[in-house]
Homo-oligomer: 401 residues x 2
């Protein structure tokens, strides 16, 4: 079996921890598996380097920033190789360049274009444990690039895909993906298996362990992804194809997103193209619109409700100023939360939504907006009810069982 393992910043936070990682890696190797390891920078290191660049400029040159930021992973990868060799294993570190990771030239947020795995395969064939510096690649012209937030996960998934690895294990300091946030609902259970699509919908919970970017790539490349804890030996959560999971629960998890704001535009002219104008302007300003609800028009007017990330609120206000003349009012509301019920099983089960509505009604929680997809029901409620709603829904769908 060929396994790609990725260890994050806290897992390689100091030399002791790197040694611990070396031991884990060697255990996998000793089981007879081929192992490629992807490492992040020691925790705090990338922030320190980023701080240096910001000392000189609010907007430091991106090519140079990549040169600075890529240093941390190079160090950890070589240190891990040294540690593995000291444990008696054949190990070698590779920078993004040496690992053949070719990206576009969008410095500080580059996209992997392809991976030339010739050298990696040659080293694996010679029984080497190959340690790859995560988060980085080079352009076709040989310029160093970095992959942006969650970049090391992306390196691991892309390598697993290119190498046809059987498993890509992402090690962090949590056990895996939970049915909901355990800090809100102590009875939350770790999920053993979940489909890519469910994982993507659980993003707000998953963000702590995996960014959507990595899950999307894993889905595209058919990579079996496991998130595990590097500080214990608990089984993690396998994220895989829907078909690989024998029995789907109706609901897999309850997600919470408190960082949303609602925009309510009243009495918009109900003519073709007005929504396109508004959302076009927001999109141009890089404001991501999430849920949209448009009420049925009366008297040639309509109401438009939508949510945006809270951090984009000021940006959105600026954009929407130009529409103030042609609408009755624009209200902004930060005091909301988005609660989502996620499950592939919903596709074949009816009554999932009504069960949620009823349960929240019994708690006197008013639902302000609803949107549904095949595998998700999202509801906007008052922020103060967020935790209560999570606990209620978690219990209604028996996720604690």
């Amino acid at each position: 079996m060929l396994v790609v393992q990725k260890y994050g910043g806290t897992s390689v936070g100091d030399c002791e921890r790197i040694l611990n990682v070396a031991k884990r890696v060697s255990e996998t190797k000793q089981k007879g598996h081929g192992v490629v390891v992807v490492v992040s920078a020691m925790s705090g290191e990338t922030d320190k380097l980023l701080g240096y660049t910001k000392f000189f400029s609010r907007l430091p040159n991106l090519r140079e920033s990549d040169m600075v930021l890529s240093a941390g992973e190079r160090v950890t990868s070589a240190l891990l190789a040294i540690a593995l060799e000291e444990l008696g294993f054949k190990a070698i570190s590779l920078s993004g360049r040496a690992a053949g990771i070719i990206t576009d030239d969008s410095h500080t947020k580059a996209r992997i274009e392809y991976i030339d795995v010739a050298r990696l395969n040659a080293l694996l064939a010679k029984d080497y444990i190959v340690v790859v510096a995560g988060f980085q690649g080079v352009t076709k012209e040989g310029e160093v690039t970095t992959l942006g937030r969650g970049g090391s996960d992306l390196s691991a998934v892309a390598l697993a895909g290119a190498l046809g690895a059987d498993l890509c294990e992402i090690y962090t300091d949590v056990d895996g993906v939970y049915t909901t946030d355990p800090r809100i609902e102590p009875n939350a259970k770790k999920i053993d298996k979940i489909s890519y699509d469910e994982m993507l919908e659980l993003a707000s919970m998953g963000a702590k362990v995996l960014l959507n970017r990595s899950v999307e790539m894993a889905k595209k490349l058919n990579v079996n992804l496991v998130t595990r804890n590097s500080f214990n030996y608990n089984e993690g959560t396998l994220i895989t194809k829907e078909q690989e999971i024998m029995e789907h629960p109706i609901v897999s998890g309850i997600a919470l997103d408190k960082n949303q704001a609602r925009v309510s535009i009243c009495n918009v002219e109900d003519r073709p193209g007005i929504a396109a104008e508004i959302f076009g302007a927001l999109s141009e300003a890089n404001v991501n619109v999430d849920m949209i609800v448009q009420t049925i028009g009366r008297d040639g007017k309509t109401d438009l409700d939508f949510t945006i990330p809270e951090v984009e609120l000021e940006n959105a206000k600026r954009v929407l100023k130009s529409f103030e003349g042609s609408v009755e009012s624009i209200d902004y509301d930060k005091d909301i939360a988005k609660v989502s019920i996620v499950g592939v099983g919903m596709k074949s089960h009816s009554g999932v939504a009504s069960k949620a509505f009823r349960a929240l009604a019994e708690d006197n929680i008013n639902i302000m907006m609803i949107s549904t997809s095949e595998i998700k029901i999202s509801m906007i409620i008052r922020l103060k009810y967020a935790e209560l709603a999570i606990r209620t829904l978690h219990s209604v769908y028996e996720l604690d069982k």
Copy 2:
């Protein structure tokens, strides 16, 4: 004019200092010169990284060590490029690889084989200030190497040679080379110009500003070398060809080396090959023998006195144990110092040595060993007289004038 400037660890010790370096570099650029800058890692950084590698192994893998150790210079070079760009200059950082520095594969102490300056020249032609990460290169196969102690100086000198630069300025935290150690003789004067050969002989003083390795390369490549202080605007010391210096003082400087030990072997069998056997054995054990004095043989026996670096003493004792049977006695003496008078002008002046002998005699300082070369007179004396001897000789040759 094309200038290569090299800034050491203390000169780029933190972001403030890097900004200071950027200002100095930009001043040179604004005078209309082409500028290539070579930087070390921020002071302390390389030791920190070295410490990491030693955590895992007493003898960490050398290839991996180079991957770790080369990180520091990459960071500083890119930070300086960011700072220069912020000051309004076109600047770009290059790793050793990108700068075309090709070395042999002696990891952690690689030798530069050649420099492919095509990219550097192209960037200079486009008016870029090029910032090169010092201390590193790559093998022909593309593996990262580092150049060992003083490696960044070496990068600078080699680049200056390959580019045919008019000047190679080495910036440190001292003003230049002095007629002797100013901590011993406060009247020591900064030397304005000195020949490569004198500089090499003054090694024990020069070590603080320049390693012999760099001076030797500068001599070989005909590079005009200047050592200057990055914290002030004083003129430094120019190290150049003997012919370039119009008027030579008879004596340029007085050097002191306290880290020598003397080995005295009494009544060695005076037959051909015995000295070769002894020095051969020492050389095999990597003990560098410096001064050697062999007395004229009597009764088929001879005495052999020589000096070695004090750190090699235990090593030498181990080696010489096997000769104990065939000699009368072997004495070891750490309580000595080597004082050297250096000057190209000696070649054409007689009486330089006798002046020294007389002066030391007047101070009741006994000379235990003497060796001379065309431009140097070295004497071994008791350690306790070292400072007195330095001050006396400095004054006798009027170096304070």
